[in-house]
């Protein structure tokens, strides 16, 4: 066979024979996800469909992470709707409060996602799970309602762009630098309707958390999925998350790729995306004159323990610049506890950081760090669209945690190698 990773996974869930890109198929799903913003709409559609039960209450994940802890009455009402639905349907994986974290950090960490799964989520960053070999993609609320009822959805089999990783990441670089570089190369619609598939000799040197960061932003190039193979490193990660029975998963050696891009990790410096699109990427060093009002470290992109370790390594013994607000949001309670245990939170506090609860919060301009007009933020989040974090006259730059931490120290965008 000559199947790409996307085709191989889809075939496992689809009765008809997959011929190749462009084919419309009906496929079963392993799991269905929604959050406190998108679930209320899905529930409305679910009810309009006349449905009385979900296809499997153990395979639906409802994570109230966007506007929580509830920022106002309207968001509290939305969470109440989701909570009541979860109870009525007997949904096991409902998260709110102390066991809740940012969905795309929480679910893989809890061992709920595995290689070869098909996961659909009413959240565009559902593609994160491609980092552990899951065909995972965002859909809207009504598509999600249909998947909750039927346990199935439809897909157009995507064309695949193969990304070959060469070499090893340099000091202070991580998954974010890889994906920002790639988005700048492809453009924000360069992978529209397509799958990105990562492999190559550099794969071994990209940690699973870095892969999750890379896959997370596949959508920022328009991609349907950003898929990594499941190798021994992934299996170790999954085992630590409490899973058993997973196996390696690779594309067929003879798989055909209409387009290939290779990335030389040895020559990749720390990257920053400038306003107002994730494709406006430049090396951090070229932006060293840009002053900042706020730095945010967190989100489904870069709020995991390896991200906090990278930030703390730079902030240790240093202070955030006078007048700059440094906000750290560990992505899940487990990440929070681990950071506490390792003394990272103390390092952040001594650097003058505000440490917030696990939440999407400021990433989408929800709460916990909204920008006024004329303010500028560097964030480890995933989107820098106009007005994304607050005022239409504010600006968001995107980077990995090392650049964010170094920039918090100087108050200007800073390549950590130059600190």
């Amino acid at each position: 066979m000559r199947r790409t990773l996307a085709e191989k996974i889809l075939q496992q869930f689809c009765e008809e024979e997959i011929q190749g890109p462009g084919q419309i198929i009906q496929a079963g799903v392993s799991g269905v996800l929604a959050n406190d913003i998108t679930a209320p709409l899905a529930i409305k559609s679910f009810e309009a469909m006349g449905a009385e039960s979900v296809f499997d209450p153990n395979r639906i994940f409802l994570v109230c992470d966007h506007f929580t802890p509830n920022k106002d009455i309207a968001s509290a009402e939305q969470v109440k709707t989701v909570r009541q639905f979860a109870r009525k349907m007997g949904i096991t994986h409902y998260y709110e409060g102390g066991d809740c974290g940012v969905e795309h950090a929480l679910l893989p960490e809890a061992g709920l996602i595995g290689p070869g799964d098909i996961i659909v989520g009413a959240d565009s960053h559902t593609c994160t799970y491609g980092g552990i070999g899951s065909f995972a993609t965002g859909l809207g609320s009504t598509d999600i309602a249909a998947a909750m009822v039927l346990g199935r959805t439809w897909f157009k089999v995507p064309e695949t762009i193969r990304i070959d990783l060469e070499g090893s990441l340099q000091e202070h670089c991580g998954g974010k630098d890889v994906i920002l570089w790639l988005i700048s190369r492809l453009g924000v619609d360069g992978a529209l309707y397509k799958a990105l598939e990562f492999s190559g000799p550099g794969l071994d040197r990209l940690s699973v958390e870095a892969r999750l960061t890379v896959a997370n932003m596949a959508i920022e190039a328009g991609a349907k999925v950003g898929l990594f193979p499941c190798d021994q490193m992934t299996l170790n990660y999954l085992q630590a998350a409490g899973r058993t029975g997973d196996r390696e998963l690779w594309p067929d050696p003879e798989a055909a790729y209409p387009e290939r891009i290779s990335i030389d990790l040895d020559r990749l410096p720390p990257q920053v995306a400038c306003p107002h699109l994730p494709e406006n990427v430049r090396p951090a060093e070229e932006l060293r004159e840009i002053p900042l009002d706020q730095v945010v470290i967190g989100s489904c992109t870069n709020g995991r323990i390896s991200d906090l370790r990278a930030a703390a390594a730079i902030l240790k013994g240093r202070k955030a610049a006078q007048g700059l607000r440094l906000i750290v949001l560990p992505a899940t309670p487990r990440v929070y506890a681990q950071a506490l245990h390792e003394g990272l939170l103390e390092t952040f506090m001594q650097a003058g950081a505000i440490i917030g609860p696990p939440t999407c919060g400021p990433c989408l301009g929800g709460h916990m760090g909204i920008l006024a007009s004329g303010e500028r933020c560097l964030a480890t989040t995933n989107r820098n669209f106009k007005g994304r974090m607050g005022s239409l006259e504010s600006e968001v730059y995107l980077s990995g945690p090392s650049v964010a931490a170094a920039s918090a120290v100087t108050g200007r965008i800073t390549d950590p190698n130059k600190l």
Binding site: I24, I37, T38, P40, L41, K44, S45, A48, M49, G50, A51, F67, D72, A74, S75, E77, Q78, G121, A122, D123, S124, T126, G138, L139, G140, S141, T142, D143, A145, A146, V149, L150, W154, K156, V188, D189, L192, Y193, G222, K224, L277, L364, G365, G366, R383, F385, K386, G387, R388, L392
Partner: protein, 164 residues
């Protein structure tokens, strides 16, 4: 499915935060969301719209988040059709599921100007620019999608399956 209205031109990569900023995502009501349609471009953008007007945008319309509030806000503002060079994938499915007519016409989009009067036959995929005496056509929808459309959208499609 026939429509006619005035063209409102928008640029490339109009993201869902532009269509409906996150601060308005505390409602699921089409009419409420419609009042803030395109508030991420300009707070009072919707004031320039008359019911039946048509958005004509460049590449990658609807990129960004999966929020279904985006097509709902457009419909709530009284806009039944969006014509674009191309659409972001999730937005395309959402628009379709919500009953917002989406026509992808590539470079032909540049032939339509602001305020042109457009007449649309959605099922045939035909766009007539009456200000220019110009007719443009789109590629036909895949059969499965026509099937959903003929049942009046995804909610009805699933409702029918459950009743069967």
């Amino acid at each position: 499915m026939f429509f006619q209205g005035k063209a409102h031109k928008l640029g490339a990569h109009i993201d869902t935060d532009a269509i409906i900023p996150a601060k308005y995502l505390v409602s699921t009501e089409k009419e409420v969301l419609g009042r803030s349609c395109m508030a991420g471009i300009q707070e009072d953008w919707v004031q320039r719209i008359s019911p039946g007007d048509i958005i004509v945008a460049d590449k990658n319309f609807g990129c960004g988040s999966s929020r279904e509030h985006a097509p709902l806000a457009i419909l709530g503002a009284g806009i039944p059709v969006v014509i674009a060079h191309s659409f972001a994938r999730i937005f395309y499915r959402n628009g379709f599921n919500m009953g917002l007519v989406l026509l992808e016409i590539g470079d032909d989009v540049h032939q339509i100007d602001q305020d042109d009067h457009l007449k649309i036959d959605a099922l045939k995929g035909l766009i007539t620019d009456q200000s220019k005496d110009l007719t443009l056509s789109t590629a036909p929808l895949p059969e499965f999608m026509r099937d959903i459309l003929s049942k009046g959208g995804l909610v009805n499609y699933v409702r029918e399956r459950l009743a069967a």
